[in-house]
């Protein structure tokens, strides 16, 4: 049964227009990085500065964020599409429990889009390795790609829950984006400073609560940089585990919601 849903997700995803976006983003991004990295800018009258290799590592993380955005966009339609009244009967009349149907759908969406992210970032990583040999170790690129995939995996249950609750791919995507934006704002140092200025304990606690509840994607993406700066023993793993816990919680909520839904 899982194979059926996985293959369907795979073929649906490959046939979808989002794939063109992945291709276009990869081309534009790699082209941009290549051009910028080889560019020499005259910033003072006394000398030139070369950006060679500077953008290549940060490029993986930023491209990863864009690809996650695209994946969330692509995956947002998956569940609402399946659950629209004109198709729900097809799936729900099969001898498969709702919990399994939902889990298989979430899992297959996660696998397929993670693969797409992996392949896209992999191609980008290979290009970087080819263009700027020795600038960024391949292992670091691989680790960064791994972290980006984890960030996406953490977003899928949230996207699924919102898809079930709103029954609309567009709404699910917009809400997920809004939550991502909120998480970004809450993780900003300036936000912390602002809260300290306001000096309202309830507001601070609420911000903290939301900060730990929402997926901390930028913190996860930055873990590798922290490890490089602080050393691997001093890495703060909390973004990974709080985000994973909240993803599990949201998955359970989605299951509960789906089991009680009339379609």
């Amino acid at each position: 049964m899982f194979r059926g849903i996985l293959l369907l997700t795979f073929s649906t995803t490959l046939k979808s227009r989002v794939m063109y976006l992945f291709g276009a983003v990869l081309m534009i991004w790699s082209g941009g990085v290549y051009v910028l990295s080889n560019a020499t800018f005259q910033i003072t009258s006394s000398g030139n500065i070369s950006l060679s290799g500077m953008n290549s590592f940060t490029g993986v993380s930023s491209l990863g964020a864009v690809l996650i955005f695209l994946s969330v966009f692509g995956a947002s339609r998956r569940l609402p599409e399946m659950l629209r009244p004109t198709l729900a009967g097809f799936y729900l009349s099969k001898p498969i429990s709702r919990t399994r149907l939902l889990s298989y759908t979430i899992l297959s969406t996660t696998i397929v889009y993670s693969l797409v992210i992996l392949v896209t970032l992999g191609i980008y990583g290979l290009l970087l390795h080819q263009w700027f040999p020795g600038h960024v170790p391949a292992s670091e690129i691989a680790q960064q790609i791994g972290l980006e995939v984890i960030v996406f995996m953490i977003y899928v249950p949230m996207l699924s829950f919102l898809g079930l609750a709103t029954r609309s791919g567009s709404f699910a995507f917009l809400l997920t984006f809004a939550l991502w934006l909120l998480a970004q704002i809450l993780s900003l140092d300036k936000m912390r400073g602002l809260l300290a200025l306001v000096d309202n304990s309830i507001l601070t606690q609420l911000a903290d609560f939301c900060y730990y509840l929402l997926p901390r994607s930028s913190d996860i993406s930055a873990m590798l940089t922290s490890a490089k700066v602080l050393g691997s023993n001093s890495v703060d793993w909390s973004p990974l585990w709080t985000s994973t816990l909240s993803a599990i919680g949201v998955y359970l909520l989605a299951t509960l919601k789906f089991r009680r839904m009339d379609l």
């Binding site: 049964m1 059926g4 599409e81 004109t86 009967g89 097809f90 099969k94 001898p95 429990s97 379609l263």
Partner: protein, 337 residues
Amino acid sequence: MTIPLKITNLKKTYAGGITGKGIEALKGVSLEVHSGEIFGLLGPNGAGKTTLVKSILGILKPTSGSCELFGRQLSDPTARAKVGYLQENHRFPRNMTGRELITLAGRLTGMPDSAIRQRADLLLNRVGMLEWADTKFAKYSKGMAQRVGIAQALIHDPDLLILDEPTDGVDPVGRAEIGKLIRDLKAEGKTTLINSHALAEVENICDRVAILNQGRALTIGSVAELTAIGLEYVIQGAFNDDCIHPPEEIASIISFSNNELIAHVVTDSDIDRLSDWLRGHGASIRSLSQRRRSLETVFLELVEEARAEVNGVTREAPAPLTSAAQDSPTEKTTEKG
């Protein structure tokens, strides 16, 4: 033998949203669909037919009551292992081909790919879609999509087939073919539940029907039982004027012509006495059948009666059926079911 479908006092109330006043779509429906029969669900729009079908499959969560598929409760997903379903107004993914949909349906029921491949071709051929198997749904007509929909419902060789408006959008030739397919499945021992507005088709195909109105089953019975008009018989042959007045203790003639008469007998056994009497008076009898109304007439009467009851109006007794044009007798000489 396990009953394919048993529904007991099934109720479904849709949540009322902000107003809080729910909509009672099913008000305690009980029925059984027996093995090997073709069962029809009839009812006007909003009667609760689709709600009932969706509740049977667990697509909707019943408020109360129970539903068993082959002796298993709905909560057990394996109860649906022997069930094939064609949804009303389905919209299968447009970028999928007929074969892909059937393959997916097979995989979702846990079939191995080799068995799916074999059976898919067989079924596509059976519904007349083999030639179009690799064409996308986007290019299918409504009738073609409907045929593929039936094929996907049959992929795992289910014992109970639930078809929601199977001939919706299908041309007359296609309807006849679907009707034949359903009858063939019956011959193979399969059970079918049809939810349809096409009363004439239901009358021709179904062994038993349930007429639903406003969430209640108004009547459940065989088509033959429901359409039969008590003690009235249509006798065809050659008759002379001596046949007009049979003895009152046997029968009275409702309408008379030289080749057909409609008689009202006093008791069921009097039909033999009447035919003997007619032959004794020079008649030649070619066929004899119980007079029937069309299922549509029965349906309309029952629904009208139910509406009148709801509105608190006592319905007038129906006018006696004297005109052959009003309710033409069917050609059937043997009863169904």
